[in-house]
């Protein structure tokens, strides 16, 4: 029986409490930090050599689908009633509403050092010390909306422009692909500066602080963001019936992408699973 992932703004008080409690328990056990480590380790940009699985690659969506699912499984081992909620930033756009309330993720960071001081993940609460990080900062940081140089969350229209693309991904299968749902959703747009931050990338920037870096997983909002992106993949599949993950077959030996991306039936590290096997989640969870 598939369980439900809910819109975070609809969670009951008890659901919020249980989600937070399960996260804190994973952190206490040291399991949470393993997820932070994996995300840092698997960020291989497309100008570097080697296999890219998590970012700037077709497998951005299945990699994060599996990653969220692993976290969710860990949470459900702690409390079987818990699932990962999603944050619909096209709808909940305030810096003080869901999911930034004191009984869920807490609010933005204070001005002097971006330290989060409210909610269960505030350092002073004693349960959320960052140990795996790309800086030596031990407390969670956020900079919602980046007041010193304000940016907006991506809009419904931004999301629709990605969803409208009938092709999953396209040559050259990296952050410069001008066509394809995947890169439009991941958000590596053309041009420089803020114009190039779209959808997923732009949300990371808007949250700021820890979410800006490779250790973004240190902010639990990471899971709510990627659950919503995961939902977009399912919406895209419904909108474009029959459209599949691409590439279907690995790029040939003469391609610059040979050995650097994961094709539909190839193994997706660090897991023993293929994108093909991750295209349908309906027997595991559904979006409510």
């Amino acid at each position: 029986m598939a369980y439900s992932r809910k819109d975070v703004s609809t969670l009951t008080r008890a659901e919020r409490r249980r989600f937070v409690k399960a996260l804190l328990e994973l952190k206490r056990r040291g399991e949470y930090d393993e997820f932070v480590r994996i995300h840092i380790a698997y960020y291989v940009p497309d100008g570097e050599d080697g296999l890219r699985t998590a970012h700037m690659a077709p497998s951005f969506l299945p990699w994060h689908r599996r990653f969220v699912l692993e976290l969710e499984r860990a949470l459900r081992r702690v409390d079987p009633s818990v699932s990962v909620p999603y944050w619909d930033w096209t709808k909940d756009r305030s810096t003080t509403g869901a999911p930034w309330t004191a009984d869920l993720l807490g609010g933005t960071g204070r001005r002097s050092d971006l330290r989060v001081t409210t909610g269960p993940f505030a350092h002073a609460a004693g349960h959320w010390t960052l140990t795996e990080n790309v800086t030596d900062t031990e407390y969670l940081t956020r900079d919602l909306g980046r007041p010193r140089a304000p940016i907006d969350l991506p809009t419904r229209r931004d999301l629709d422009s990605a969803l409208a693309d009938p092709v999953y991904d396209a040559h050259p299968w990296d952050s410069t692909a001008a066509k394809g749902f995947r890169n439009k959703l991941e958000g590596w747009g053309p041009g420089r500066g803020s114009a190039s931050w779209r959808n997923h990338n732009r949300v990371h920037r808007w949250v700021g602080g820890a979410m800006t870096g490779g250790a973004a997983v240190n902010d639990p909002v990471f899971w709510l963001v990627h659950a919503f992106l995961d939902l977009q993949w399912s919406r895209w599949q419904r909108r474009h019936r029959g459209a599949r993950y691409l590439p279907a077959a690995p790029p040939g030996r003469n391609s610059a992408q040979h050995g650097r991306i994961v094709a539909r039936h190839e193994r997706l590290p660090p897991w023993d699973v293929t994108p093909d096997e991750l295209e349908d989640h309906s027997r595991i969870y559904r979006y409510g």
Binding site: E34, R37, I38, I40, A41, Y42, Y43, V44, P45, D46, G47, E48, D49, G50, L51, T53, M56, L69, E70, S112, D113, V134, T135, T137, H171, P172, D174, S175, T176, A177, A178, G187, P190, G191, R192, G193, S194, S196, W197, N201, H204, R205, G209, T212, G213, G214, A216, R253, N254, A256, R260, P269, P270, W271, D272, V273, T274, E277, L278, R283
Partner: protein, 148 residues
């Protein structure tokens, strides 16, 4: 892993404005010099020539109270430090640069990426290098499919 052997297949499908991978060295050098001359917050204290190995574009400047030093490596990468601590820079396929601290956008030069990383560093904090490297660990291996 296989790296591009020729330019032919890499261009199609790109954004028109995207330069070739690695970027033209002259543009990078110009960017560095422009950076040193920029008045806002940047306080160049050491000359470019003194800090750089001969023939390589490098930088050594103070930015928002941090010392940024960078030098090209023979392999085409950059070794960059913030107050002497290594800052891991990575390349994008369009020739731009990003750091582990500022991971969801990229910058035209290593110096610009280093400054952006400083912008994100809290007061008194430094970059930290991690002990893990991409694509080799299999900590969660052994599961099959969504239906495991």
């Amino acid at each position: 892993m296989v790296v591009s052997a020729g330019p032919a297949p890499r261009d199609t499908g790109r954004h028109p404005a995207a330069p070739e991978r690695g970027g033209p060295p002259t543009a990078t050098r110009r960017g560095v010099v422009r950076g040193l001359l920029a008045p806002a917050l940047a306080l160049p204290l050491t000359s470019l020539a003194a800090a750089s190995p001969p023939g390589a574009a490098g930088f050594d400047e103070h930015y928002r109270g941090r010392r940024l030093q960078g030098a090209a490596t023979p392999a085409g990468g950059w070794r960059v430090t913030v107050d002497g601590r290594p800052l891991h820079l990575m390349r994008r396929a369009d020739g731009t640069w990003l750091s582990t601290i500022d991971h969801y956008c990229s910058y035209p030069t290593p110096l610009a990426a280093a400054r952006a990383a400083v912008d994100e560093l809290g007061p008194g904090h430094h970059p930290r290098t991690t002990t893990v490297h991409g694509g080799h660990g299999h900590p969660e291996g052994g599961h099959h499919g969504v239906l495991a």
